[in-house]
Subunit: 339 residues, 2 copies
């Protein structure tokens, strides 16, 4: 038979209400009562039902997380960091992998509401009007991690994507490259799509280099699309000497495509990625990449969310939280000597 | 103001109990009452609190999942499949990433109990006596996915690791290799450690090939350990012409080590992996590997768990569920012509 709260009360010689108050960590419970209750709990091996307790305290200690694709190394790394920070603060995760399916997202947000999560982390930026309205009505803090949806008022934990893409492009320019291709992301996304593309274009323009549309393609951040877009670029009349892809996954896809065409990285074409995921060290040659502080983004996301939860709307993060990026040169780029 | 159950009752002209019975899907509620309640729910936009409902019905629709390492492609792929199957059956996941930390596992199992999960999936095989006892007392179904802990009575969804490793080794023997190294897993694990090692050894012995201990090392399934173990093998007096690593991650680590030593895969050393994860197609040359049906293992795990949950102990899976493995030859092995 499972030990019940009334057994604890009997053992401790107090009322059920007192046990409940101790369990909920309420102030103004006399120390000797606390001691007796905790001793009884220990002796009986009582595990309080989180469900019953949350009905009283309204605390569920749950955070809902929406991940676009859990099999991506980038997202699973953020997720592992979110999990670690949440767990060390006594919070548990309801994890939802939506596979980029907006309908599934709506369903999960409804479940989050039912389960009374205390906060929500969303890791993709495609939200529609219906979802926006729903989130606004939810009355729990919501943070976007690593992305920023268009025209909206939620807090995002991101890097300066424009500046990071600008610097990644400048790295190639600094190595003497003048013909630099680009594999971008979805242009409906502000952070990873639009801002990174602008950074690339402006770096070229500022250095008086031509923008060649034959070398510019847009994928979906995944390996296969990097491969496919690179194949299109390789079909052109003249090849670029370098390609900048806005995700490490696409960069690896591009490298594989170059390899399968019997060309060399970086001998024939240099490749730069974006994210700084584990992939960069996994492939050969190692991939030079613009690093996002992936792990830190996860912990900062949860840290901020917990402040918002405990402040009940009174905490002001001062808008988006911008994390630091840094370029890590590995072995996928070579220096070019121009005539 | 949030819509409450009593608002629904008022609107539908029924008692709160009736609304509650409809919400819990109980039989013997008159159809016209059901209709009125459901119409009122729809009109008011009422979302029942899962917490309140679960106190009545004892159904939480939660499954607890313990993952050893969420950033591994192998586990995140099983997890995404588990998530998909659970979700399409109306179940949600509490996901716990334990980073191979047994203490953390115990903590999470306690949380699972508090949250009244209806079933548990565990994806690693190192469980101690304390955890075994705790699980046995939990009174909810537990399934091990992709692993089998030693000496225990829980159901596992696995492949025949011995046979799969035997066949992977035979693939190399069939290509003419006689000097075949091995990078194994933790020998405390039955499935991935012991059984795969036995399969390798017996394949060699059955084909009258020598077991050379200089070419046998044990890692922890991760990329870095594959790299490190390969480095040790490369320090030997004579090199093997092929290496079989019992995870794709370790196989890729081994390939990278070979590359960094200015040797060729498969020109100098052929490499075979195990798992059939996405990595196999991501690296160059593509990795030949013994494939586990990773995605199917996730869905079969949840399918079996749901049967156990709904049968309340009456369902008998007939022991472990053995899934089919198959070898996929890619580009990392070459044929050897022996003198």
């Amino acid at each position: 038979m499972a030990v019940k709260i009334k057994d604890v009360a009997k053992k401790a010689g107090v009322s059920v209400t007192t046990v409940s108050r101790v369990l909920n960590g309420e102030k103004y419970v006399k120390d000797d009562l606390k001691l007796r209750v905790n001793r009884a709990i220990e002796e009986l091996g009582y595990v309080p039902s989180q469900i019953a307790r949350s009905l009283v305290s309204r605390k569920t200690n749950l955070i809902g997380v929406i991940v676009p694709d859990i099999t991506s190394n980038f997202y699973s790394t953020i997720l592992s960091s979110i999990e670690e920070t949440a767990s060390s603060n006594g919070y548990n995760l309801l994890v939802c992998n939506i596979s980029e399916d907006i309908d599934k997202e709506f369903k999960y947000l409804t479940i989050f509401k039912e389960m009374r999560v205390e906060g929500i982390v969303i890791m993709h930026e495609k939200i529609n009007e219906e979802i926006r309205t729903f989130i606004n009505k939810l009355n729990v803090p919501v943070i976007f991690s690593s992305v920023k949806p268009m025209d909206q008022e939620f807090i995002s934990v991101i890097i300066d994507d424009y500046q990071a893409a600008y610097e990644a492009t400048e790295h190639l320019i600094g190595l003497g490259h003048e013909r630099i291709g680009f594999i971008g992301g979805d242009m409906r996304d502000i952070t990873s799509g639009q801002n990174r593309y602008s950074g690339y274009r402006n770096a070229l323009t500022d250095h008086k280099l031509k923008i060649v549309y034959e070398w510019i393609r847009f994928g979906d951040y995944k390996v296969q699309s990097g491969y496919d877009m690179m194949r299109e670029i390789l079909r052109g009349k003249q090849l670029p000497t370098a390609v900048f892809a806005v995700s490490d996954d696409m960069a690896v896809g591009a490298m594989n495509c170059i390899y399968d065409h019997k060309l060399q990285v970086p001998g024939d074409i240099s490749v730069v990625g974006f994210d700084g995921s584990q992939l960069t060290e996994l492939v050969r040659p190692r991939l030079s990449s613009m690093e996002q502080p992936i792990y830190e983004m996860g912990s900062v996301t949860v840290g901020t969310l917990l402040k918002l939860i405990s402040a009940e709307g009174e905490y002001d993060s001062g808008g988006d939280i911008i994390m630091k990026h840094r370029f890590i040169a590995r072995d996928s780029c070579r220096r070019i000597v121009n005539p």
